[in-house]
């Protein structure tokens, strides 16, 4: 008996093992996602007065619970970045893009997101960017489709 009897080629097929988790957000992340759905960004004030965005439930330094949520801007400044020449599946952008840390106006920490720019020559630390919102907001982090440069 050989493969010729059962067919020359080994069969193969996609096999997806998926867990359909539904997670409760808690009040802080829930408010952050609610804000995104309304095209507004919330941070939270830390124990030392710094605004943490995306918001944390507990102070990053002291671990104290935080509760004072504040709105920050939809524009911000690139604090660090690298170039993604070959995007993988499920990234926010399927075209080559910058992966950057962005400090939104009014926040004291940076969030990680992508910038839709034509090439690495277009990006620099200190560049001003703004949120491009998803066309159909859902109350998810993906409501921020990406960032784009403020000045051409």
């Amino acid at each position: 008996m050989n493969d010729a009897q059962g067919g020359a080629e080994l069969l193969h097929a996609p096999l997806v093992i998926e867990y359909g988790f539904m997670r409760t957000t808690g009040p802080v992340i829930g408010a952050f996602l609610t804000g995104l759905r309304e095209q507004r960004v919330l941070g939270i004030r830390g124990a030392d007065g710094r605004v943490v965005c995306p918001p944390a439930e507990y102070d990053p330094t002291t671990g104290a619970p935080l509760s004072d949520m504040v709105e920050v801007g939809a524009e911000g400044t690139v604090t660090s970045w690298s170039w993604v020449a070959e995007p993988r599946e499920d990234e926010p952008l399927s075209t080559p893009h910058a992966l950057a840390l962005i400090r939104l106006d009014g926040a004291d920490t940076s969030m990680l997101h992508v910038i839709d720019v034509p090439g690495p020559d277009s990006v620099r630390t200190g560049a001003r960017v703004r949120i491009r919102w998803a066309e159909e907001p859902e109350g998810l982090i993906t409501d921020i489709a990406c960032f784009e440069l403020l000045e051409a």
Binding site: M1, D3, Q5, G6, G7, E9, L10, L11, H12, A13, P14, L15, V16, I17, E18, Y19, G20, F21, M22, R23, T24, T25, G26, P27, V28, G30, A31, L33, T34, G35, R37, E38, R40, L42, I44, E57, P65, L66, S67, D68, M69, V70, E71, G139, L140
Partner: protein, 190 residues
Amino acid sequence: MSTDSDRSISTLPDGLWTQPQPTVPDLGAAEPVQRVRMPAAMVYDYSPGRARTRYLRGLEHKKILGERCPSTGEVYVAPTGVAPVSGLLTTEQVEVGPKATITSFCVVHIGFGVNAPPTPFVSALFLPDGAAVSLYGTVGEIDYDKVRIGMRVEPVWVDDDELTTSSENIRYWRPIDEPDVPAEQLKGHM
């Protein structure tokens, strides 16, 4: 105000774990976000291996192909390429069935999965004629409380234009007009 968002999500006794309720700028949103769907998926390219490939290519032509142990002569289906008792490689492909005998069954009252039949249904093990072990499937065209061990059945295939290299080619098994097989004859094949 008492909304769902005020509810503690902790399962611990009060006082061991709390989450402060934050003050939030007015967002004008009617429905606050409280839960999000976060599926986690692992995507494989699965190959069933050479023996199962031979088996599935048989099913594509409505043939149930087992493989024979060179030591004991028993025919295993669905084949793995190795006889589970002797550990020897199987060397001969053998067509079995399509008629079969129910060796065990279970009445299912709570189905799950997108392809589950309406409940109650019967899932069962079917010993194809000529095989040493049983195949898994469901029983159709009979009331669930009439199914018996030893009952004779045959496979109901999908339409010819829907045949693929898949176990789903057999939609279900249905009773045929043949006398039951006595339970003693099913010993060792359960």
